[in-house]
């Protein structure tokens, strides 16, 4: 991956640069926090580090990681997609229903159907946001309920049972390669690919420009509406894919699949260093944010602390993350101020 080379004339010593990068990069600090939570929990309950337990940890984080990828793209453009939980639920049900009717359907077609459902939902979200110029918060809050409602009509109280889903599909939910769960492999590959795309291609850089200053993006000739529309479509498609993996993992689906995921995803993304008002952040950071929230969740189970603390902690972490960003921002402003003052005197 190409990384911009900083001006050689102004480069500080290599070790200092490394220290700055480590301190500044949110990805590294989150990874450290994940390891710290993991280490502390293992010290309390050694079985937390068992292979099976770690595998379960990774599987549990996978769906949220995938959703975080799409949500990151949307939030970077200064929008938000609150419908991802409902899209996931609808996609999971449609795939399950397909397998119930066509038991011999190839696995890949099942996934494609889920992605297709998500894509359609994304088209609806994107079209309303872009054409009707309604804030995405309102649009996706609406489609959150509408899609959930459509899902409930489809489901009509009938659950999909594991028996009607092919084993080859369910295998994705629990099989491993070199001890790494397939779910986590898929999620990681998606994170790496999208992370690379976000860094390397012009249309992806446009997303950062749009979130950084939508008006300036228009003036710079960025096709803002087309990009935002496309971002919602991708977010929907990714949520559809997540629905497939959710089904493979849980093997059963009712009308409440993915209920409330949207806010957890937004929390994970923000904890992962994506600015809530757009313009900055990375997919890798967001995925690590998802892993962190899931690790805390599992750690509470392992230490037998009441599950009540799970959500409270997630919230506290969210606020800490935002407060930390603000603190760093103010410190940098002050440093700049002092530097300017010295430069002038």
């Amino acid at each position: 991956m190409m990384v911009p080379i900083t001006d050689r004339a102004t480069q500080p010593a290599p070790w200092r640069r490394l220290a700055t990068v480590l301190f500044r990069a949110r990805e590294v600090s989150i990874l450290l926090v994940v390891l710290a939570v993991f280490g502390l929990t293992t010290a309390y309950n050694t079985s937390f580090a068992d292979l099976l337990s770690v595998q379960q940890l990774l599987v549990g984080a996978s769906v949220m990681m995938i959703l975080a990828v799409g949500e990151t793209m949307v939030i970077i453009t200064r929008n938000v997609d609150l419908s991802v939980g409902s899209v996931l639920g609808l996609s999971a049900y449609v795939i399950g229903d397909l397998f119930a009717h066509f038991p011999n359907l190839p696995v890949i077609l099942g996934f494609l159907a889920g992605v297709g459902v998500g894509l359609l939902c994304g088209v609806v979200n994107g079209a309303i946001v872009v054409l009707a110029r309604v804030p995405s918060l309102v649009v996706t809050l609406g489609t959150l309920y509408v899609i959930r409602g459509v899902d409930a009509i489809f489901v009509n109280g009938v659950q999909i049972n594991p028996s009607s889903i092919p084993d080859s599909f369910l295998g994705i939910g629990y099989e491993t390669v070199l001890d790494v769960p397939w779910m986590f492999v898929i999620a990681s590959v998606l994170v790496v690919i999208v992370g690379y795309i976000m860094r390397t291609f012009r249309p992806a850089r446009d997303l950062y420009a749009i979130g950084s200053d939508p008006q300036a993006a228009l003036l710079a000739g960025v096709p803002v509406r087309r990009r935002v529309f496309f971002t919602f479509v991708v977010s929907g498609a990714i949520a559809g894919l997540a629905g497939g993996l959710w089904l493979a993992n849980f093997a059963t689906v009712s009308s409440v699949a993915g209920l409330g995921y949207e806010l957890l995803v937004v929390a994970a993304v923000v904890v992962g260093g994506v600015a809530i008002f757009g313009g900055s952040g990375t997919v890798v950071g967001a995925a690590l944010g998802a892993i962190l929230l899931n690790t805390i969740n599992q750690a509470l189970v392992a230490t037998r602390i009441s599950a009540f603390w799970d959500e409270a902690l997630a919230g506290a972490l969210l606020i800490t993350a935002i407060a930390f960003d603000r603190y760093v921002f103010l410190r940098r402003e002050r440093a700049l101020r002092v530097r300017l003052a010295h430069g002038l005197s």
Partner: protein, 533 residues
């Protein structure tokens, strides 16, 4: 301001004549114009924003475009930028008619616009800001970051500017942001570069650097359209000037045939003294005393006083700490040491409420963001600082509020549609008057005004000056911050010059002139600083 009295003013030039009244025999004119706007019109509903936009730009010239606010300059710029499409009229580049559809079309045609507040992406690097949407790519359309940074370094070198191309735009000074925009224009091979009020927010050193950059652009064969309220800047950098009034072309001439007064007369269509010199009174009792005020890294050991009826100006370069001192006195920012005394009473630090209660008023630099609530009605805005007096308990007395607003808008000759219209319907100058009205309605004993006439047209500017004089005459102490030396010299009874966060000089009215202030502000004469302390 230099006035070449006796020279022809060039105020002729009938409106809408096909000849456009262009005079001039420069060599640049020989090759024919690079860009022509011919009788361009644009209406928004019933409002004719532009009824005759005409201008001719030649390669290698800097062309001043002047006119009061509302003269149609912004609309003309937006047509050149491709933001608006003209209703009628022609845009001709190199002899070929153009229709500019969208900003991308203008950029492709080689026209670049640098706005007063540059529109950079704060989260992107300098280099990526310049190349957004057209970053150089390698195989598979992957962005070539190294190549992009190299190209941008090359462009900045051509402009003679040093800047780290990988730093984020967030935190760059306005001047540096403009340089980035100009570099962007160059990277587009732009040949027509429009600068909308580029010098309004720059320090003098930065203005000098900008003028050098403009000279470089001209030498490379570009045409620069330079839009400014600062006629001194127009005279320093432009070869020809076009004047607009009420959406119409008025006249166009080479700079040698023009005088400041002639241009002003053409702009407003009547005679007016551009500066209202303050009447000199004997100042009264001391109102404000500032003792050893310090804010770490911003300003150090600031001591001065302002008496009733006195206008004291804080002058100095951008970044010298003028606004910061004012903000700390009013209590918006905290302070690390020192004392502020109003009418003998010490004001607690960091409390605008206490400052207001003590009789202080503060008209901030940025009226759109800090001075007015833009979506709120004009009368509510004017009454906003007086609500305590207009309320019984928690209930605001509506009719008293309206009466107060009507009274003050009449006194300040505010031009508005209805008092119930939102404040953003007012023109820039009238917005500033509304902010003044808001504070005057409180009958303050000390009024701090930060850049009171920035971005305001000449006519309204004179009115604001008249107002400030009147306020002082009524016994209010005024602390004025201004980057415009003529304004400082015309209005101030005393001039404090800040440099690097310290008071470098303290001139009484009769000792202050442009040279002495600039010397103190740039630190060229140490003995002045010593005398000032």
């Amino acid at each position: 301001m230099e006035l070449g009295a006796g020279l022809p003013t060039g105020a002729g030039g009938g409106e809408g004549k096909s000849d456009n009244g262009i005079a001039g025999d420069d060599a640049v004119l020989a090759s024919g114009p690079m860009l022509v706007l011919d009788h361009v019109t644009k209406s928004f509903g019933a409002v004719h924003a532009l009824s005759d936009g005409s201008i001719r730009l030649y390669a290698g010239e800097a062309h001043g475009l002047v006119g009061e606010n509302g003269a149609g300059k912004s609309t003309l710029v937006k047509i050149l930028a491709g933001v608006h499409q003209p209703d009628s009229g022609l845009v001709i580049l190199d002899g070929k008619e153009l229709s500019l559809h969208g900003p991308a079309g203008a950029a492709a045609a080689g026209i670049a616009v640098i706005y007063q507040e540059p529109t950079l992406f704060p989260d992107l690097s300098v280099a990526e800001n310049i190349f957004i949407g057209r970053q150089p790519v390698r195989s598979w359309k992957r962005i070539n970051w190294t190549g992009m940074n190299e190209v941008v370094r090359g462009v900045l070198d051509r402009l003679g500017v040093h800047m780290n191309v990988t730093t984020l735009a967030r935190g760059l000074s306005v001047a540096d942001q403009q340089i980035v925009e100009i570099a962007k224009a160059l990277s587009f091979n732009a040949r027509v570069i429009v600068m909308d009020e580029p010098t309004a927010a720059l320090s003098n050193a930065e203005v000098e650097r900008l003028f050098e950059v403009i000279a470089t652009l001209r030498a490379q064969g570009a045409a620069v359209l330079f839009i400014s309220h600062r006629l001194a800047d127009v005279f320093s950098t432009c070869q020809r000037v076009t004047v607009m009034r009420d959406g119409r072309f008025v006249m166009s001439d080479t700079i040698g045939n023009l005088t400041v007064e002639g241009i002003i007369r053409a702009m407003i269509g009547r005679d007016v003294s551009s500066l209202f010199p303050k009447t000199v009174d004997d100042p009264g009792a001391e109102v404000l005393r500032v003792e050893h005020l310090t804010r770490e890294g911003v300003f150090t050991d600031i001591s001065f006083h302002v008496r009733a009826g006195e206008i004291v100006a804080l002058a100095g370069l951008m970044g010298a700490g003028r606004s910061e001192v004012a903000r700390a006195i009013f209590g918006i920012d905290g302070r690390d040491a020192g004392r502020v005394v109003i009418n003998g009473a010490t004001i607690p630090a960091g409390s605008p409420t206490a400052s207001m209660a003590a009789g202080m008023g503060f008209v901030p630099e940025d009226r759109r963001q800090q001075g007015l609530v833009m979506d709120l009605a004009i009368d509510h805005n004017i009454a906003l600082a007086s609500l305590g007096r207009l309320s019984r308990g928690a209930i605001i007395h509506r009719s008293a509020e309206t009466a107060l607003a009507a009274d003050w808008s009449t006194r300040l000759r505010l031009k508005y549609g209805r008092l119930k219209d939102p404040a953003n319907t007012l023109s820039g100058g009238n917005q500033q008057k509304a902010v003044l009205a808001k504070w005057l309605a409180r009958r303050p004993s000390l009024l701090i005004v930060d850049e009171p006439t920035r971005g305001i047209d000449v006519g309204t500017k004179a009115e604001v000056h008249r107002l400030l004089d009147e306020i002082a005459h009524q016994g209010v102490a005024v602390l004025m911050i201004s980057s415009e030396l003529p304004e400082v010299l015309g209005m101030a009874d005393r001039v404090l010059v800040l440099r690097g966060g310290r008071i470098a000089a303290d001139f009484p009215r009769h000792e202050a002139d442009e040279a002495s202030i600039m010397r103190a502000a740039t630190g060229q004469l140490r003995q002045n600083a010593a005398a000032g302390q």
